[in-house]
């Protein structure tokens, strides 16, 4: 909606929007800044905004103490694996709901969403016992499966809404041309839904990356992702604001960068069928 407005109005908009944007972003900015301070400067009164001696000491302490690379790699594998696996299972399901709807389609969809309401804490023991039985404790495979299941309803719902927006005539035309079900799915539908799929993948990657209950409780050393990494910096002895900030920055930086680069994609696709 590019409307023509007076420069004065535009300037006002700009100032106001930037002020609010910076306000919302400030906690993250402050964390990043603090991560480059010494512990003493981090709690200095009055607080120092920029005029401090920038140091990388906190990062080297954190790197020395924890195997950051492994935590990061586990986070990537777990978030990525669960998202991809979820998509593989969700695409056909969403397709059939969107194009071969039955009376129960909506019920099924809403039921799927309701499985997300199971309180995680309440089922920790059952799941933990199951994981022991299946030998999945502290394995990336186990977490991939759990996070996939947690996010599957959201994935299906998002995909369903994108697929529904694809006009049926196109499919008819493809069928006329002799396309089978497989071709239809692979060459007609999916490409049209690529923006939707992309934003679905992104959103679920973010959700899986930030999931902090199962990833913490079902891992020990081998499969522990960044959520477990941060748990070792949360309240140690002595001054820790700067080290906490460094660890926090390291935990959120990868996803923040990914999010920034792909925000256009995310914004375009994140509708959940809310826009007709």
């Amino acid at each position: 909606m590019a409307r023509a407005v007076s420069p004065r109005r535009k300037l006002m908009n700009t100032t106001f929007a930037w002020a609010i944007g910076l306000l919302i972003f400030f906690p993250i900015l402050w964390t990043i800044l603090t991560s480059f301070k010494t512990e003493a400067q981090a709690i200095a009164s009055p607080p120092i905004f920029l005029g401090f001696d920038w140091t990388l000491e906190n990062y080297s302490v954190v790197m020395e103490r924890s195997n950051y690379g492994r935590f990061l790699w586990n986070s990537i594998i777990i978030a990525g694996g669960s998202t991809i696996l979820g998509c593989i299972i969700a695409v056909p399901a969403a397709w059939s709901m969107a194009f071969v709807p039955s009376k129960r389609t909506k019920d099924i969809l809403l039921w799927m969403l309701s499985t997300k309401m199971l309180p995680a804490v309440g089922v920790l023991y059952p799941i933990y016992l199951l994981f022991i039985q299946m030998g999945l404790l502290d394995s990336r495979a186990g977490l991939v499966i759990v996070l996939m299941l947690i996010n599957l309803p959201i994935i299906i719902w998002m995909l369903y809404t994108y697929f529904k927006e694809i006009p049926g005539e196109i499919l008819e035309a493809a069928r006329m041309d002799g396309a089978g079900l497989k071709e239809e799915l692979l060459y007609v539908l999916t490409p049209m839904a690529i923006p939707g799929i992309a934003s679905t993948l992104l959103l679920n990657f973010i959700l899986a990356w930030n999931e902090a209950f199962w990833t913490l409780n079902l891992t020990a050393a081998k499969a522990a992702p960044l959520t477990a990494f941060i748990a070792s910096y949360s309240s140690p002895e002595g001054l820790f604001f700067a080290k906490l900030s460094a660890a926090s920055t390291m935990a959120i930086a990868p996803i923040l960068i990914l999010g920034w680069f792909s925000q256009k994609q995310l914004v375009r696709g994140l509708t959940f069928g809310a826009v007709k």
Binding site: N13, A17, Y125, K164, N210, A212, G259, G273, A274
Partner: protein, 288 residues
């Protein structure tokens, strides 16, 4: 266009998702139900036999139960109210012509990428700490006594932290909805001399209702389960114990799995009441 063949194909294609989710729902549910009727105390030797409805009555008659339900609802409703109201305003603002729109948008959505544990830690320590927190410095600068946020204003503080995390999500969805608004209609209304507020309430808000429903539905699902934010900040003290935190205390801190499981069953019931309620609205609103 649905032929018989495509119907059966559709069923096959849906099967994996449905079976997996059914398993994911039923297996823990049945185990939880089983535990909830047992006297199951891991630290006292595990399963000590059938308990009848003891766990259920005990959980619900505990002095902590109703306050926990209330806290849960206050947090969910509080965060929903804040994120929807500010989300709409922010979406409208971001839709205005301005310089550097892309950058502003990035700034606004950034909190969504921060994991809940990190955001809780950062807010608790670097902002809300009554001695070294930034707010304390700010208050002192203006000559006021620093506030002990997490004890004196615990619930508002947690609602604020959670709202900060979810505001970007609401804003994003509402923004796409705002952008899809028919500008001709708006301009026509403007020509007719309809005042700003009227335009907002009669054209913009109805147009956003669908997006708002989606925001409410999705956020409710996640908000009913918030845990990390409370675990890190108050540990359930100062009236911030939600139902899921109460279950956590029963299962893990008191090591009474039977009692906690009964609580889990109550939480499922509560979630489903909310869900049915929500889905009635959403079902109506999402009929394509």
């Amino acid at each position: 266009m649905a032929t018989k063949a495509s119907r059966s194909a559709a069923r096959v294609m849906m099967a994996p998702a449905v079976i997996l989710l059914l398993g994911w729902m039923l297996v823990p549910l049945i185990m939880t139900l089983w535990f909830s009727f047992r006297k199951y105390l891991p630290l006292r030797g595990g399963d000590l036999g059938f308990a009848g409805f003891d766990n259920y009555t005990r959980f619900v008659t505990s002095s902590a139960f109703w306050p926990a339900v209330q806290t849960t609802l206050v947090i969910v409703l509080g965060v929903l109210a804040i994120t929807v109201v500010f989300g709409v305003l922010l979406a409208l603002l971001l839709d205005q012509p301005m310089w550097g729109q892309g950058v502003v948008r990035i700034l606004v959505i950034a909190p969504f990428f921060v994991m809940p544990t990190v955001s809780a830690l950062v807010w608790k320590n670097m902002f809300m700490d009554p001695v070294n927190g930034l707010f304390a410095h700010l208050w002192r600068f203006f000559g006021a006594d620093p506030v002990s946020w997490l004890s004196d204003a615990s619930l508002p503080s947690i609602i604020m932290i959670v709202s900060w995390q979810w505001l970007p999500f609401a804003t994003l969805i509402l923004l796409t909805a705002v952008q899809s608004l028919d500008s001709e209609q708006l301009e026509a209304a403007e020509m007719d001399g309809a005042p700003k507020l009227k335009r907002f309430f009669y054209i913009i808000l109805p147009h956003l209702s669908r997006a708002m429903t989606v925001v409410i539905l999705i956020q409710t699902i996640f908000l009913l389960a918030i845990f990390a934010e409370i675990f890190v900040t108050t540990g359930g003290a100062f009236g911030t114990r939600t139902l899921s935190y109460l279950i956590f205390q029963r299962v893990l801190e008191s090591q009474n799995v039977g009692l906690g499981s009964a609580g889990g069953v109550y939480a499922i019931i509560l979630a489903n009441i909310v869900a049915i309620f929500l889905m009635r609205i959403v079902g109506k609103n999402l009929d394509a």
